[in-house]
Symmetry: C2
Subunit: 341 residues, 2 copies
C-alpha cells in the first residue's frame, strides 16, 4: 500500500486543524463512480475535480466543527447530487422509459441504524430522504411512490421530474438505446455499458467521536428497467457502516454487488479474517469481481482512519481530506489501492 | 444439536427414496414465520401443519424427480403464497393505507444468481416473479409498478388487488391501527406487533446435483408504511444461497435483518470461522437479535444436507423432508436448534 505519487494536491483557502496524533481525528472520503480515459476530456476532468472539492469541503466543514460523520456524509453526497456531472440527483441517468429513478442509502456505524429510498422520482436529494427514513420511521427502506410520498409529508425538497433532465444524460440514453437496437438486430447480447452511467456518488466519514458513517446515491444504470433497484440503496450491498469494522460505499454494476453482498462481505473479512481496509476491499473488487470483468469500486474507512479506494476500472473520481485539511483529489490510477496512513 | 423429541412425524401417502448414504441426496425445509401460543388455536395449528405439508410435498416431488433446488423452493413457497393462512401472496397483511404490498426473492447457490420483487400489488405469486427477474432480466431487484409491469409483460398470473383481501388480515389490521391510535393518545411508542404479521414464508433446498437454493416471500409487517420493503426481498438480508456455505431464508422484524445483514452474515461465519449451520444461525438469532428482543428466525441448509432452524419466538411453523420421504412438521419448541444430521 503506497500512496500514489500522481495525487492532485489542492489546498483549500481555509484554516485547518493539523493532526498531531498518529490516528486522524476526522476523515472524509468520497467517490463519483468509475470512469474511463476516453470519456474524460481535460475540461470535464477539471469540472469533476472541482465538484469533488466542493463536496469534500461541505463534509469536512461539518467534521471540523465537531459535527457527526452522518451529517458529513449526507452533506458531501448532497453536493454531488446537486451537481449535474454525477449520476445522482440532478445528473441521474435515464431509464428504459426515458425517466429518472433514483436510489440512496445512509448508515451510521455506532448504532448500525440505516435508512434508504429507491426508485424515487421527485425527491431533489434522495440522500436526505434516506436519512429521514432512518430518523423518522421504524423502517429502513421505502421505495417508489411510498418513498416520494414520505418525502412530501416530511418537508423534503420536492421537484418536478423535469428537474432531473440533463442534455448529456439524455444523449447518452439515446446512444445506449441505439446500441441496444443494433445489438438486437445483429443478434448480439447487450452488455451493460457502464460508460453511459458514469458517476454514482458516495461518501464515508469518521468524526471526532470516533463514529463512522457511509452514504451512497445514484441514478442507477442507463436504460435500466422501470423499477430496477441496484446495490446503492441496499444495506450490505452498496453501503455499510459498523464502528467495529468500517464504513463502505460502493459503485459499479449493482447486480453483482448485491449477489456478492460486497459491502457486508468487506466487513466480514475485516472482522473474521483480520484483513485491513485495503486487503478486504481488494479481495472483493480485484479478486472476486475483476475476474468476472465486473467494473466497480469500494471506498472503505475504518475507525482508526485507515482508508482504501479499491477499483477495477481505468479511473475512479475520488478524494479525501483528513485532519491536516489538505484535499486529495484524483480520477485515474489503474487498479491500485491507496492507503491514507 | 439434538433432534427435538417433540417433532411431529407425518408420513405421506406416497413412495419415497430412502437414504442409504450418510449425506442426504435431497433436502427441503420450509418455514411459515414465527408464532406465539396464544395466537395458535388447536384448529389453526392443524391447518398450519396441513399447509406446511402441502408445501413440502410440492417441493419434494420436484427433488424426487431429480428436479433442481431452485424449482423446488419456488414450488414450496408458491403453495404457501396461495394459502391464506400465511403472510405471503393470498394471505398478505395490510399496509397503513389498507392495501397489500408483497416482497419476494430467490437465489441459487451454484451461480449465486438471484431475483427479487418488492412492493408488488397485482402479482399472484411474487416468488415466481422473483424467479422471472433472475432468469429473464439483467437485474436482481424490481420494485413497485416496475415489478408489476414486468410480471404483466412476462405472462405471470395477474390478479385484482382485491384477491389479497382476507377477513382475518383485515381484522388484524384494524386492531393494529386501534392499538397505534391508543398508544398515540397515551404518548406511548408503538412497537411492532409481530403478532399481527404471522407468517412470512420461506424455503431452502438441496438437490441431487448438490445445488442449494433459497426463497422467501412475504406481505411484510401489518400497518407498514406504503413502499416499505423489509428483508425478505433483499439478497444478503432475508435470503441467501451459496453452494460453498448455505441456503438461508429468514423471517422476523425485517429492519434488523437488513441492518445486521443476517443471511449473508451466517454464510460469513461458516466460511471464515468454520461454524456449522446451527452455530452460525444461533450466533445471529440467539446471540445478536435476542438480546435486542428482536423476534425472528433463520433456516439454514448446507450442501452436505445439514439443516438448522434457529428462532427467537415461542414457535416457528416449519418442516423438512429428506431422502427417506418422512415429513417432519412442527410449530413450537422454544429457542432450540434441531439438526437434521
Amino acid at each position: 500500500m503506497t500512496r500514489n505519487i500522481n495525487l492532485f494536491f489542492i489546498l483549500l483557502q481555509a484554516s485547518f486543524i493539523h493532526a498531531t496524533t498518529a490516528i486522524p481525528k476526522v476523515v472524509i472520503a468520497i467517490h463519483g463512480g468509475t470512469a474511463d480515459h476516453e470519456e474524460i476530456s481535460p475540461l470535464l476532468e477539471k469540472e469533476i475535480l472541482d465538484g469533488l472539492a466542493t463536496s469534500l469541503k461541505a463534509g469536512y466543514q461539518i467534521l471540523k466543527n465537531k459535527g457527526g460523520s452522518l451529517a458529513a456524509v449526507e452533506a458531501a453526497v448532497k453536493v454531488l447530487e446537486n451537481n449535474p456531472l454525477f449520476n445522482a440527483g440532478k445528473g441521474a441517468v435515464f431509464t428504459e422509459e426515458g425517466k429518472n429513478e433514483m436510489d440512496a442509502s445512509i448508515m451510521e456505524g455506532r448504532t448500525k441504524k440505516a435508512g434508504a429510498v429507491a426508485s424515487t422520482t421527485i425527491i431533489k436529494n434522495p440522500i436526505s430522504a434516506a436519512r429521514a427514513v432512518m430518523e423518522k420511521t421504524r423502517h429502513v427502506l421505502l421505495v417508489g411512490n411510498g418513498a416520494d410520498q414520505f418525502a412530501k409529508d416530511n418537508g423534503l425538497e420536492i421537484v418536478d421530474p423535469k428537474y432531473f433532465y440533463t442534455e448529456r444524460r439524455w444523449k447518452e440514453w439515446q446512444k445506449s438505446k441505439q446500441k441496444k437496437n443494433q445489438n438486437k438486430q445483429s443478434g448480439l447480447p447487450t452488455p451493460w455499458n457502464r460508460h453511459f452511467s458514469l458517476g454514482t456518488t458516495g461518501a464515508v466519514a469518521l468524526d471526532p467521536l470516533g463514529n463512522l458513517a457511509a452514504a451512497t446515491s445514484t441514478g442507477g444504470l442507463t436504460n435500466k428497467m422501470h423499477g430496477r433497484v441496484g446495490d446503492s440503496p441496499l444495506i450490505g450491498a452498496g453501503t455499510y457502516a459498523d464502528n467495529e469494522t468500517a464504513a463502505i460505499s460502493c459503485t459499479g454494476v449493482g447486480e453483482y454487488f448485491i449477489r456478492f453482498g460486497v459491502a457486508h462481505e468487506i466487513t466480514a473479512l475485516m472482522k473474521y479474517k483480520g484483513y485491513d481496509v485495503a486487503k478486504a476491499s481488494d479481495t472483493l473488487i480485484q479478486e472476486t469481481l475483476k475476474p468476472l470483468k465486473v467494473e466497480g469500486a469500494a471506498i472503505v474507512l475504518d475507525a482508526k482512519g485507515n482508508l482504501a479506494f479499491s477499483y477495477f476500472a481505468e479511473g475512479l473520481p475520488r478524494g479525501y481530506v483528513t485532519d491536516d485539511g489538505v484535499l486529495h483529489l484524483l480520477i485515474f490510477e489503474k487498479e491500485t489501492t491507496q492507503s491514507l496512513r
